[in-house]
C-alpha cells in the first residue's frame, strides 16, 4: 500500500470521481436541496461549508444513499460515481456504502470492543480470510485513524468507553477499514480538541492519496487548511464552488463573501 503513494501523488488527478446533476432533495414537502450541480475530483479534499441547516449533511448523505433510510426523504437528480449512476436500480446500496465510507457528525461507535468496531466492516464484506489478516487490517486502520497508540493496549475494551475525540477517531478508523474509495466526513472535528483536530486534519491530508474525501465543516480555517476545493451552500442552494484559495480570497457571490467574513451564519 505505502509504496503506491508517491506514484499516486505524482499523477495529477483532475478526473471526476463524483458528479451530481440537477439534484433536489425533499423532506416531505420541504425542499432541503435545490438544483445542485457539482463535480468532485478524485484524490482531492472537497469541503462543504455553509450556515447551519443549509443542507450540507443532506447532500453528503445523498452520496452514499444514506437518505434512503429516512422515510420522508425523496432524492431527485443524477448522482454518478466513476460515471455510474448510484441511484440506478441495479446498484445495491450495501455495495455502494462499502465503496463510500462515512464518518458521522456525532461519534457513534458500536457498543462493542474497539477491535470489533474496526473489524466489523471487513468481516461482513469478507475482506480478511484469517485472524492474522483481520488483525493487520485493524491495526492499519487504527493507525490511519491516529488512535493506535492510545488504544493498542486495550483493543478489547468497549469503544464507548473512549473519550469523545477518541471515539470520533475510532469512527474514522472504522470507516477506512473497509478501504472505501470515497470518504464522506460530516463535521468530523466538532467534538475534538485542537490537538486531536490537528491530528485528524493531518490524517485527512494523508487519506487524500487514496481516497476522495468530502468533508463538511463549520470552521473556515479548517476548510482552508485541509481542502483543495470548497463548496458553499446556502438555504439548500450550492452558491459557489471552486478552488479553496479562490473561494476564500476572492469569492464571486456576495452571499459567500458575507458568510466567510462572518456576516451571515
Amino acid at each position: 500500500m505505502n509504496d503506491m503513494r508517491p506514484l499516486e501523488r505524482m499523477v495529477n488527478t483532475d478526473n471526476i470521481k463524483i458528479s451530481a446533476r440537477n439534484c433536489h432533495v425533499f423532506y416531505g414537502d420541504t425542499q432541503a436541496i435545490k438544483d445542485v450541480n457539482v463535480d468532485i475530483e478524485d484524490h482531492t479534499v472537497t469541503a462543504f461549508i455553509g450556515p447551519s441547516g443549509c443542507g450540507k449533511s443532506t447532500f453528503l448523505r445523498c452520496l452514499n444513499r444514506m437518505n434512503d433510510t429516512i422515510d420522508i426523504c425523496r432524492v431527485k437528480g443524477t448522482f454518478l460515481i466513476d460515471g455510474a449512476d448510484i441511484y440506478d436500480k441495479s446498484v445495491d446500496p450495501v455495495q455502494l456504502r462499502a465503496k463510500v465510507g462515512m464518518v458521522f457528525q456525532k461519534p457513534n461507535p458500536f457498543p462493542k470492543s474497539i477491535y470489533d468496531n474496526v473489524a466489523y466492516g471487513p468481516k461482513i464484506h469478507g475482506m480478511a480470510r484469517t485472524k492474522a489478516e483481520l488483525d493487520e487490517i485493524v491495526e492499519r486502520s487504527l493507525r490511519r485513524g491516529a488512535i493506535w497508540n492510545e488504544v493498542k493496549d486495550r483493543l478489547h475494551a468497549p469503544g464507548t468507553g473512549l473519550s469523545g475525540g477518541q471515539q470520533q477517531r475510532l469512527c474514522i478508523a472504522r470507516a477506512v477499514a473497509t478501504n472505501p474509495e470515497v470518504l464522506l466526513m460530516d463535521e468530523p472535528c466538532s467534538a475534538l480538541d485542537p490537538i486531536a483536530t490537528a491530528q485528524v486534519e493531518e490524517l485527512i491530508d494523508e487519506l487524500r492519496a487514496q481516497f476522495t474525501v468530502v468533508i463538511v465543516t463549520h470552521s473556515m480555517q479548517q476548510a482552508a487548511r485541509v481542502s483543495q476545493k470548497t463548496a458553499f451552500f446556502h438555504l439548500g442552494n450550492l452558491v459557489e464552488f471552486g478552488e479553496t484559495g479562490q473561494i476564500f480570497t476572492s469569492p464571486q457571490d456576495p452571499r459567500t463573501e458575507s458568510y466567510i467574513t462572518g456576516r451571515i451564519g
Binding site: T69, F104, N108, F110, P111, Y120, G121, I124, C171, A177
Partner: protein, 432 residues
C-alpha cells in the same frame, strides 16, 4: 399571581427579585406533587400489605398438615398376598387405630366406621402402595404416618372451637376425646405439608395438592412461550425494521394494539370455537391452554419488542449501515442485541400475565377435576389459577386455607418471574 404581575408592570424589580418572588409558590407546588406521590405509593403498599397479610393469615395453616403415626399389623387374613393389589387395607388400619380406644365396639360396623373417620381416605391407598411395592410386609407390623382427615386437621389447628355446644360442632365430644387420646400418646404430628406441592388434586382437602396444576401451568406456559416468543419477535422485527410504512402497516399496528386490549375471555371463546371446535383438539389440555394464552401474550411481546427496537438509538443503525451492513445485518448484529433486555423483560411480563390468566382456561375446560398430573401437554389438566378457582368453589373447610396457600404459591411464581425480568434487564442493559 397579583404580586407577580405587579412586578412585571411596575418594572421596578430586577429579574432576580422576580424569580425570588415566584420561588415560594414554585416550591409549594413541588412539595405538593411530592407529598401526593408519597401518599399514592404509601396507599399502594398498604393495599398490597393487606392483601398479602390476609392471604398469609388464612393460608399459612395449609402449609402444615396433621398426620397420625400408627403401628399397623398387616394381617395375612385381611390382606392375602395372592389378591394384591386388592385387600382389606381399611380393616387393617381400623384395627390398628381402634386398639387405642376403649369405647369402640369392634363388632359394630357403624362404630368402627365412625372411629376411623380420623384417618384420611387416602391412608388405605398409602398403605396399599407400600404393600404392593413390598409384599414381604404381609404378616409384619409397619409404622405408617398418614394424614388425618380434614375435620380433625381443623381441630388440631384450633379451627374448631371446643367451647361451642356439641350439636353445633362438626365433631362430637367422644370424637374429640378419641383424638386427644392419640394426641396424648404422641401419635399426632403436624409436619410441613409437602403434599400441597407433590399431590395432585383430590376431593379430600387433606390430600389435595397443586402438583397437577403446577405441571399443567408449566406445559401451558411452555407452549405459550414456544409459540408467542418467536412469532411475537418475528412480527415485531418485521413491522419495525422491514415493513414499508404505509396505510396497511398503520392498520396492522392499530390492530395489534387493540388486540392487546381484548378481554381474555374473548380469546377463550375463540379457542373453544377454533382449536377445540374446528381442529378437534383435546378439551382441558395444556396445549390448547398454551395456544390460547399465546394469542394473548403475542400482542404484549410485539409491543414490548417494538418499543425496545425503537429505543435503540438511530446513530447505531447509521453507523452499521455506513460501513455497508445490509438491513438484516444491522438488525441482527446491532439492534437486536441492544434491544434484547427490553424484549426479554416484555416477554417475561407477558408470560407472568399468562400464568395468572383464568378466564380463557375456564372456557376451554382446564377447570376439570383431575386427580393426576399430566404427562404431556395433550392430557387433561388444570392450571394454577383454575385450581385456585376450583378450590375456592369447594365447600370443605380445608379448602379455604388451601385456596389462600395456592394463591401464595401463584404469587411466589409471579414475583420470581418479575424478579428474573428485573435481573435480566439490569444485567444486560448496556450504556451507549
Amino acid at each position: 399571581m397579583t404580586d407577580i404581575s405587579a412586578n412585571h408592570t411596575g418594572l421596578q424589580g430586577t429579574s432576580s427579585d422576580v424569580v425570588a418572588a415566584g420561588l415560594p409558590r414554585r416550591n409549594r407546588k413541588q412539595s405538593l406533587v411530592k407529598t401526593f406521590g408519597i401518599l399514592a405509593i404509601g396507599f399502594a403498599f398498604l393495599m398490597l400489605f393487606i392483601l398479602v397479610g390476609s392471604l398469609v393469615l388464612t393460608g399459612y395453616k395449609a402449609f402444615t398438615q396433621t398426620h397420625v403415626t400408627l403401628d399397623v399389623f398387616i394381617d395375612p387374613e385381611a390382606v392375602p398376598a395372592d389378591k394384591l393389589p386388592r385387600g382389606g387395607f381399611n380393616d387393617v388400619l381400623a384395627s390398628a387405630l381402634i386398639s387405642h380406644f376403649s369405647d369402640v365396639d369392634m363388632t359394630s360396623r357403624t362404630e368402627v366406621r365412625a372411629a376411623t373417620k380420623i384417618l384420611s381416605n387416602g391412608a388405605q391407598f398409602a398403605l396399599r402402595d407400600q404393600v404392593v411395592a413390598n409384599p414381604g410386609l404381609i404378616g409384619q407390623t409397619v409404622t405408617l404416618t398418614v394424614p388425618v382427615s380434614d375435620t380433625y386437621d381443623q381441630l388440631n389447628k384450633d379451627l374448631i372451637d371446643r367451647d361451642t355446644p356439641e350439636q353445633n360442632r362438626l365433631l362430637s365430644n367422644a370424637e374429640i376425646a378419641r383424638f386427644d387420646i392419640l394426641k396424648d400418646a404422641g401419635m399426632i404430628t403436624k409436619p410441613l405439608n409437602t403434599g400441597l406441592i407433590t399431590n395432585a388434586d383430590s376431593r379430600f382437602p387433606e390430600l389435595a395438592g397443586l402438583r397437577g396444576a403446577l405441571v399443567g401451568s408449566f406445559w401451558a406456559l411452555l407452549v405459550c412461550f414456544v409459540i408467542s416468543f418467536p412469532l411475537g419477535i418475528g412480527s415485531a422485527i418485521y413491522l419495525e425494521e422491514f415493513a414499508p410504512k404505509n396505510k396497511i402497516s398503520d392498520f396492522i399496528e392499530v390492530n395489534i394494539n387493540n388486540l392487546a386490549a381484548v378481554p381474555s375471555v374473548v380469546f377463550g371463546l375463540l379457542a373453544l370455537a377454533v382449536f377445540i371446535g374446528w381442529f378437534g383438539m383435546p378439551r382441558s389440555a395444556p396445549i390448547v391452554g398454551g395456544m390460547t394464552l399465546a394469542l394473548m401474550t403475542m400482542p404484549t411481546i410485539i409491543i414490548a419488542t417494538r418499543a425496545a427496537l425503537k429505543a435503540v438509538p438511530p446513530s447505531i443503525r447509521e453507523a452499521a449501515m455506513g460501513v455497508g451492513a445490509s438491513q438484516q445485518q444491522v438488525v441482527f448484529h446491532h439492534v437486536l442485541p441492544l434491544a434484547m433486555p427490553g424484549i426479554l423483560t416484555g416477554t417475561i411480563i407477558g408470560l407472568a400475565q399468562a400464568l395468572g390468566e383464568t378466564a380463557p382456561l375456564l372456557l376451554i375446560g382446564m377447570n376439570a377435576f383431575i386427580t393426576s398430573a399430566p404427562d404431556s401437554p395433550f392430557q387433561a389438566a388444570t392450571a394454577l389459577p383454575t385450581q385456585i378457582f376450583i378450590w375456592a368453589d369447594s365447600p370443605e373447610r380445608g379448602f379455604v386455607s388451601r385456596t389462600s396457600a395456592a394463591i401464595l404459591v401463584l404469587l411466589a411464581f409471579l414475583i420470581t418471574m418479575n424478579a428474573i425480568a428485573i435481573f435480566l434487564r439490569n444485567k444486560f442493559e448496556r450504556k451507549w
